[in-house]
């Protein structure tokens, strides 16, 4: 047993300590990583509902050809807000929620290295999101797509303040993201329980570590681009205006220099989640621990060498395109390595199909589809044909939903008993699983065909071409079914919190440190931590005769 090191002294700052014994004030003023993690998670649920409603309106507009249910301006705002919300205020906060909640518990620490900075990062994200939505009241939301291309983001094309809100809110949230990531790195490197060496660290923690470095390197490109755009719009600088000699392509370079790493930023921690879940539900150690780490690092490095694959159609020339096509194909290799690691982990295991595991297995299928369409884009002539069509929409949703969201849901069902102390209704959860998976594929599988048939993304209405109407109808139906299933999920969670069965400390017979605490953990995570001599310390502790 090892004593635990507290990150900060427990003495409150004199004069600044308010008594926060209960209620909302306790949450607002909290610096406890568990409470902050939970707030991140609820924040992302809130924005998931908002972003979901926005896109359902969009799908309603597209349900039949030549529809005029929405104004084109409103349509532009809705899909822009949808994409921006989902990436920056759903995926990122959800991931940070899991990270903040789990990292200290998994490494046997009592809190993050900088608890107050941790709270500060959360509130920056919170107010960033609030500010983005305030744009609706301030004269119009951003309307140039989530990637906000020049010249559409320029004053001449979008004179409502929406784009300014886009810049400021993403800057604020971005600073929060960067500071939280630095906090994770220090926490992981300096606050592990004494006996836990790097090679015994849970894979989830490893992926958070790699990911945090990726964030520190990638987000500044976005922040710089946003600052430049603000200067363009507020002080008439000429970064992206062609009139003053500026360059619209520069925006694309800076944006995708951030944007491509970003898509891996939202998938690496998910790979970490799956690397925890597959072994536990297969009752086997992870296959190829070192390969998972190595391929994670390879992905993080390669992510900076492929951004031009988002710009094949901008005419940068064959040499540039060829180079980036090759590097884009390379990135499929480390991703494939991970998939095979998980398959090999399941192989010959005693698999338990709990809901978390069902999402994990479904992920393998859906993410592979998304990866294949990604590789197909790396073939330049195919990209020229399919870029900015619904085929891209299909690809990004297979990786974002089939990858990131499935991972988050899998993680949610895995750790929910730990976080809330309750077990969600298993039967209802399985209903949710099937409803969600089927409606997701219903919505997006057909969009591959729509894209191949030439339907452009982000057009507000479309002519009555053969097949387009039917496929869009299917897609909209699927979309609304997804909406219903998210409603069901919220119902399951609320029901479990209010009257779910009490969860034991270790409901899944798991093997990492967070399961050694009570469910939910006490305010102070640990008094003592079991010895860590392998990647599965808790299992070794429970079955010392059969230790790794």
């Amino acid at each position: 047993m090892k004593a635990i090191r507290l990150p900060e002294s427990e003495k409150p700052i004199p004069g600044l300590s308010v008594s926060t014994n209960q209620g909302l004030l306790q949450w607002i003023s909290s610096v406890d990583h568990k409470q902050i993690g939970i707030m991140y998670l609820w924040l992302s649920v809130l924005f998931l509902v908002m972003g979901g409603c926005e896109i359902l309106l969009v799908r309603l507009q597209l349900v039949v050809p030549n529809n005029d249910f929405l104004d084109p301006e409103v349509f532009n705002q809705l899909f822009t807000m949808h994409g921006t919300t989902m990436i920056f205020f759903v995926a990122m906060p959800a991931i940070f929620g899991f990270n903040t909640y789990l990292v200290p518990l998994m490494i046997g620490a009592n809190d993050m290295a900088y608890p107050r900075l941790n709270a500060f990062s959360f509130w920056l994200t919170f107010f960033g999101g609030l500010m983005l939505y305030f744009s609706f009241l301030a004269g119009g939301a951003p309307d140039a797509g989530w990637f906000n291309y020049a010249p559409l983001n320029q004053y001449n094309y979008s004179s409502s303040p929406g784009i300014d809100y886009y810049c400021s809110s993403l800057l604020i949230a971005g600073i929060g993201t960067v500071s939280a990531s630095a906090n994770f790195i220090v926490t992981i490197l300096k606050y592990r329980v004494g006996t836990m060496s790097l090679k015994h660290m849970p894979l989830f923690v490893w992926m958070v570590l790699i990911n945090s470095f990726l964030i520190l390197a990638a987000f500044p490109a976005l922040n710089a681009a946003l600052a430049m755009l603000l200067l363009d719009r507020q002080l008439h600088a000429h970064f992206f205006t062609a009139i003053g000699g500026g360059s619209a392509i520069l925006w694309q370079h800076l944006f995708w220099l951030f944007g491509h790493p970003e898509v891996y930023i939202v998938i690496l921690p998910i790979f970490g989640i799956f690397s925890e879940i597959f072994p536990v539900y297969s009752r086997k150690p992870i296959f190829g621990y070192n390969f998972i780490i190595g391929s994670g690092m390879a992905i993080a490095l390669l992510a900076f060498g492929v951004w031009i694959h988002h710009m094949f159609a901008t005419g940068l020339g064959n040499t540039v395109n060829g180079f980036f096509a090759a590097s884009s194909m390379l990135i499929g290799i480390p991703t494939g390595v991970k998939i095979f690691n998980w398959l090999a982990t399941m192989y010959g295991g005693a698999i338990r199909f709990k809901v978390a595991m069902m999402f994990a297995v479904a992920f393998l299928v859906e993410f592979t589809i998304g990866g294949l369409s990604g590789i197909s884009f790396a073939i330049i002539p195919i990209d020229w044909q399919l870029t900015d069509t619904y085929y891209v929409v299909a690809h990004l949703h297979y990786v974002f939903i089939g990858g990131t969201l499935f991972g988050l849901l899998s993680g949610l069902f895995y750790w929910f008993p730990k976080i809330s102390g309750r077990i969600p209704d298993e039967r209802l959860s399985k209903w949710f699983f099937w409803l969600f998976v089927i409606s997701f594929n219903l919505t997006f599988l057909v969009q591959h065909a729509l894209g191949a048939m030439g339907m452009a993304r982000r057009v507000y209405t479309y002519p009555d071409f053969a097949g387009w109407g039917t496929l869009n109808l299917i897609s909209t139906t699927g979309g609304f079914l997804m909406g219903i299933s998210i409603g069901l999920l919220v119902y399951i969670l609320v029901k479990a919190i209010r009257k779910g069965v009490q969860a034991p400390a270790d409901p899944w017979d798991a093997s990492t440190l967070e399961w050694t605490t009570s469910s939910p953990p006490e305010l102070k995570n640990f008094d003592q931590v079991i010895p860590v001599n392998s990647t599965r310390p808790f299992r070794d502790f429970k079955r010392p005769d059969d230790a790794d």
Binding site: I185, V186, P220, A225, A237, F239
Partner: protein, 184 residues
């Protein structure tokens, strides 16, 4: 230890930020017309002199750190004050340069040169200013007697940041002022 790691991470991510700004500058400088504009507008000699003040402030700060390590609080204060003085002179030089440029109608909205020049050097100046404020706070603490006993990592943390700000200026100075002069 933890705090030093933290500040290194922050400095690292700031470096990426400046890299993006420098990239934008270089990107524009490849367009015909930019270089001429740049050569006409900039006064490499005067800025060179003011840059020397900034570079020497890294030296004075290093002296301050050394004296802190030895527990010599008196000299610590002197070197900190000197650092602030040098930094302020640099900022004054930048202000003067801006003033002249603006008087010659070179503004952030006049051309891509103005845009990228003011943004890059402006963000650097902002970092100098922030550094000066932090060092001023350190100096106040020193006068209040906070550093009578060794052990605080504050001085070396701020040092990492301050040296970083200097190093950024080495690159900015080379790329913005020296390079066009050489490849003219």
């Amino acid at each position: 230890m933890d705090n030093k790691l933290m500040i290194k991470l922050i400095v690292g991510t700031e470096a990426m930020f400046f890299l993006a700004l420098i990239m934008a500058f270089v990107y524009f400088s490849l367009v015909p017309g930019f270089r001429t504009h740049q050569l006409v507008s900039l006064d490499i000699k005067s800025t060179g002199v003011f840059s020397l003040f900034l570079f020497s402030s890294s030296f004075t700060y290093w002296r301050a750190e050394e004296n802190f390590r030895k527990g010599d609080v008196k000299h610590l204060k002197v070197w900190l004050l000197l650092t602030i003085l040098l930094g302020v002179i640099f900022l004054f030089g930048q202000g003067k340069e801006y003033y002249d440029l603006l008087n010659h109608q070179v503004t952030i909205s006049s051309s891509t040169f103005g845009t990228s020049f003011f943004t890059l050097t402006g963000f650097h100046g902002l970092h100098v200013l922030i550094g000066l404020i932090v060092i001023a706070v350190l100096t106040c603490l020193a006068f209040l007697g906070d550093y009578d006993q060794p052990g605080s990592s504050l001085i070396s943390m701020v040092g990492i940041y301050w040296h970083f700000v200097d190093i950024v200026w080495v690159f900015v100075f080379l790329i913005v002022y020296v390079l066009p002069f050489i490849v003219r």
